[in-house]
């Protein structure tokens, strides 16, 4: 079929309800008899709980229930959906059993007729804590005398992994130069504008539980919840209605995913819990925290022969997504470069902080930061242009599929499917006008204004398994229903998947209803993370719609008394090729498949399958590798340490774009998140493990003032791994941004000899570096 809709800038069908205030997020929903839950959270990072006294809370007006860990029994540990042979996992419980491990960990829960009453009752709960010294810094956690986050594990090391490709020792021996550096990437978080929320209702008559959750993974929530509640999966329906952003923070089975349904069953009334921002900042998963010690072995022409990376990854208190983040970092360090010898060694450590799990970018921003900073270092040491060093090291476009030599996250040989990295960098430099910027930089330096330009390239594993599915069904009315487990949080899945379905089936967009985020819609699903939906779900839609089309043609052949080969399905009508007036609408065809024609008691017409529907699951054998190149121009105010991003160019390769408008939105939003990671966002813990950044006044998100106009261009190298040729687009905007901005800042401050080895670059941190540079210069002159 010719693509009418795939590739077009179709306006989003989601938007009508969202611009009129009719969007329905969990906090907007109500059920008859609904009551409200509030959670008491630990004020200590590490403490023993000696006693919890709920008496006063239970007597407080309007309170229906107040529970601590003992009252939940039996309530097993929360699920660990991503195990790893190297992982020493600590068990996490819905309410803390005897010990708390981070500030914000749930200790008790209250349900009351009104939220005010529930919150007030929290103040009446008396918990006797024995505060213990916590460990907050991941490197400190490795010290022999460090307090243990989980005493039962006997160590703070959650996992230790090593891998090597090539002969690293030899490459270092034979290199012309060896450069070493230490890098620190600090934590960041997702901070969707909608915080989390869960509403649960149990119907004792049907013995069925319905949960509305602001989650990225409804089917995974169902999978985790069933054994905890001793229900079958068939008894549980999870609905993710409109979800106000996710960015990884809603991809985790949190304690509340269990607590709220548990309470609803216990009380026999619908229970709703809506998180406030402080809770979200204190307890939603974070990511990024890593310290790297890197060495590169280089030939005098700038060719990188080997990389050795040893790093410590801060896991926080638990492992809700296993050790996916550090594994992704470790395997993505080589990025777009042909590096024959690479060795990594990562130690994942528990700390008394919020658990770490993937946040938009998922370990890759750190990998890119480390590698790209080293490439810039090579350029500086050898007196080469940073772009030139990149061109000399890129994997050439004719070498795909390219075997990196590592086992990737999924245990398979890491193989890049397609890409054109030199083209990406060429276009990125053109977007920002690299040559002119260099001249401008020169001119402004004479006026003591500090302009800098930086670039960064990344490769990103997208479209991971195990599967995502789609059911396409034609109603006898002619309306097409598309169900998928691919649950959106703003990515426009309804529009994008309708485009794919309309082309594959042969109907108009308006004839399709897309139902996402409802486990009742399709038996299995995985969820939205790792930039996987356009790759995994869209190809499932193609397969299901293609099957429905074939069925429609066969049923149409019966109605039209024609041969299947002579029929076509166009704009929702099965018709004889070349004779459009000889045709029937799809609804009529659906009635045949439903058995309504010829009718009850008659045999099914020959060659017609029952029901005009099909379900298909796409199971990718490996990741599709998207890539991106960013170039940033910044000006640094050396008096204040403030960085202004003046110009930003982003090249993105996500294979075929299904809807370019949606892709552009994904990339721009991702860049803004990356700018936040580079300049603003930092959850700050004090030595006792208290989070000091628990409002948006302290945890700074980028506003329109910090995000410049973003210049976009695309390289389209189709993925050979799926019929649509697509790769993921959700995270590529974020991944290279911190590295590009760090490079630009360092370039701007070259006259001061400033080296950027840490992000985010708060003005305070940058001022310290600048004044150190000034002192060194004065000293030199003195």
């Amino acid at each position: 079929m010719a693509a009418r809709f795939v590739g077009a800038r179709i306006k989003r069908r989601e938007d009508r309800r969202l611009i009129t205030g009719e969007g329905a997020y969990v906090a907007d929903l109500a059920r008859p008899g609904m009551v409200h839950a509030a959670i008491l959270r630990s004020p200590y990072a590490r403490a023993r709980i000696r006693a919890v006294d709920l008496t006063a809370a239970r007597q407080s007006p309007g309170v229906l229930l107040a529970l601590a860990f003992e009252d939940l029994q039996p309530a097993g540990p929360l699920p660990l959906p991503v195990p790893h042979p190297a992982l020493k996992a600590a068990q996490e419980f819905p309410l803390a059993p005897g010990m708390v491990h981070y500030v914000g960990e749930p200790v008790a829960v209250v349900v009351a007729e009104e939220r005010y009453a529930a919150e007030d009752a929290l103040d009446l709960i008396r918990v006797e804590y024995e505060p213990l010294p916590p460990v907050v810094d991941p490197e400190r956690a490795l010290a022999a005398d460090a307090p243990l986050v989980h005493e039962e594990l006997g160590t703070n090391v959650a996992a230790h992994l090593e891998q090597e490709t090539g002969d690293v020792e030899r490459a270092f021996r034979e290199a012309d130069h060896v450069f070493r550096e230490r890098f620190r990437v600090l934590r960041g978080s997702g901070q969707s504008i909608e915080a989390r929320a869960v509403l649960a209702a149990y119907d004792p008559l049907l013995q069925a539980l319905t949960v509305w959750s602001s989650t990225q993974t409804p089917h995974l929530i169902r999978r985790g919840l069933a054994p905890l509640l001793n229900l079958t999966e068939a008894q549980i329906r999870i609905i993710a209605p409109d979800v106000g952003g996710g960015f990884g923070s809603k991809g985790v089975f949190y304690p509340e995913e269990f607590l709220v349904p548990f309470l609803a069953i216990r009380l026999g009334r619908p229970v709703k819990w809506v998180e406030d921002r402080r809770e979200h900042l204190q307890t939603a998963i974070q990511e990024r925290g890593q310290v790297h010690e890197v060495e590169v072995a280089v030939r005098r022409d700038g060719r990188i022969l080997a990389v050795r990376d040893r790093f410590v990854a801060d896991q926080g208190a638990y492992t809700p997504w296993g050790i996916v983040v550090p594994v992704l970092t470790a395997t993505m360090v080589p990025g777009p470069y042909k590096i024959p010898n690479y060795r990594f060694e990562v130690t994942v450590v528990y700390t008394n902080t919020v658990p770490s799990a993937p946040v938009r970018g998922a370990g890759r921003p750190q990998a890119v930061f480390v590698m790209e900073r080293m490439v810039d270092r090579v350029a500086r040491e050898l007196g080469l242009d940073p772009a030139e060093v990149r061109f000399r090291n890129f994997i050439p476009p004719h070498e795909f599929p390219y075997v990196v030599g590592l086992r990737s996250r999924d245990g398979r040989l890491q193989t890049y499917d397609s890409g054109n990295y030199p083209e990406g960098l060429t276009r990125a430099l053109r977007l920002i006008g690299y040559e002119e910027v260099r001249k401008e930089q020169e001119r402004l330096r004479a006026e003591a204004r500090y302009l800098g330009v930086g670039m960064a390239c990344c490769v990103e594993a997208t479209g991971l398994g195990p599967h995502e599915g789609a059911t396409v069904r034609v109603d006898p009315s002619g309306r097409v229903y598309l169900y998928t487990g691919a649950s959106p949080q703003g990515q426009g899945h309804e529009t994008m998947l309708a485009q794919v379905c309309a082309d594959a089936l042969g109907v108009e967009l308006e004839e399709i209803t897309v139902v996402t985020g409802d486990t009742a819609g399709i038996p299995q699903g995985t969820g939205t993370f790792a930039s996987r939906i356009a790759t995994v779900a869209a190809n499932a839609v193609t397969a299901a719609a293609t099957e429905v089309r074939a069925r429609a043609l066969r049923a149409g052949a019966y109605l039209l008394e024609a041969r299947v080969e002579d029929l076509d399905l166009i704009s929702g009508r099965v018709q004889v090729r070349g004779v459009p007036e000889k045709g029937v609408p799809l609804g009529q065809v659906a009635r045949v498949a439903a058995g309504a024609v010829p009718g009850p008691g008659s045999p099914m017409p020959e060659g017609v399958e029952t029901s005009l529907e099909a379900t298909s699951y796409f199971t990718p054998a490996q990741a599709a590798y998207a890539s991106g190149t960013h170039a940033a121009v910044v000006e640094v105010d050396v008096e204040t340490g403030m960085v202004k991003v003046l110009k930003y160019g982003a090249i993105h390769d996500c294979g075929r774009m299904i809807n370019p408008m949606i892709v552009e939105g994904q990339v721009c939003g991702g860049v803004a998140h990356g700018i936040g990671n580079a300049l603003l966002e930092e959850p700050v813990y004090d030595g006792s493990g208290q989070l000091l950044t628990s409002t948006f006044m302290d945890y700074l998100l980028p506003s329109a003032a910090e995000v410049p106009e973003i210049l976009l261009d695309h390289v389209e190298t189709l993925s050979p791994l799926n019929p649509l040729g697509v790769k993921g687009a959700g995270e590529g905007g974020t991944i290279p941004a911190p590295a590009a901005i760090a490079a630009a800042v360092e370039d701007a401050l070259a006259p001061f000899g400033v080296r950027i080895t840490e992000v985010p670059l708060s003005p305070e941190r940058l001022r310290r570096l600048i004044s150190r540079g000034e002192r060194a210069q004065d000293g030199g002159r003195g």
């Binding site: 938007d15 409109d242 106000g244 952003g245 426009g492 948006f696 329109a704």
Partner: protein, 157 residues
């Protein structure tokens, strides 16, 4: 029962007379008392602008405004922007320019832009950035939101 204070408001053109406890915020009045859930809560501290509504045409963070502080005033929420289903040019421009992703900040963004254009039909580039810059969006990177507001300010329909 706690004290309740009699108050009246005009909300999206309709007049309401009610008795409310003094601690009721404007946001709670809209969402919980009147079911106008188009206005969202995000930071709960008057920083992010998700809860922005117009009070006598001026943008206000409804999460930190007490209901009694706006008694007798005229309040416009996102539900009031399209009377009879006729979309406001800003609403249409947001769709056309791809300025919406998850939609959670969208009502506040559209309202703050509406407030800007009501006071200043021909805002400068800086004034547009200032208005959009007082609300937070996590999805879009603002580029397309600014584009949409600029388009309406420049007369695009």
């Amino acid at each position: 029962m706690a004290t309740r204070i009699p108050m009246s408001f005009t909300i999206n053109g309709d007049r309401y007379e009610m008795e409310l406890p003094p601690q009721r915020t404007l946001l709670e009045l809209l969402r919980d008392e009147l079911g106008l859930t188009g206005t969202k809560e995000s930071c709960g501290a008057g920083i992010c602008g998700a809860c922005t509504v117009l009070v006598d045409g001026q943008p206000v963070s409804s999460c930190i405004k007490m209901a009694f502080q706006v008694k007798g005033r005229e309040i416009t929420t996102i539900e009031g922007l399209a009377p009879g289903g006729q979309l406001d040019p800003l609403q249409e421009a947001f769709v056309r320019h791809g300025a919406i992703q998850c939609g959670y900040c969208t009502p506040g963004m559209i309202i703050i832009a509406k407030g800007l254009l009501l006071q200043n039909p021909y805002p400068s580039e800086e004034e547009i950035y200032e208005a959009v810059g007082s609300n937070i969006c996590r999805c879009t990177g603002y580029v397309k939101i600014v584009e949409a507001v600029r388009a309406v300010a420049r007369g695009e329909r």
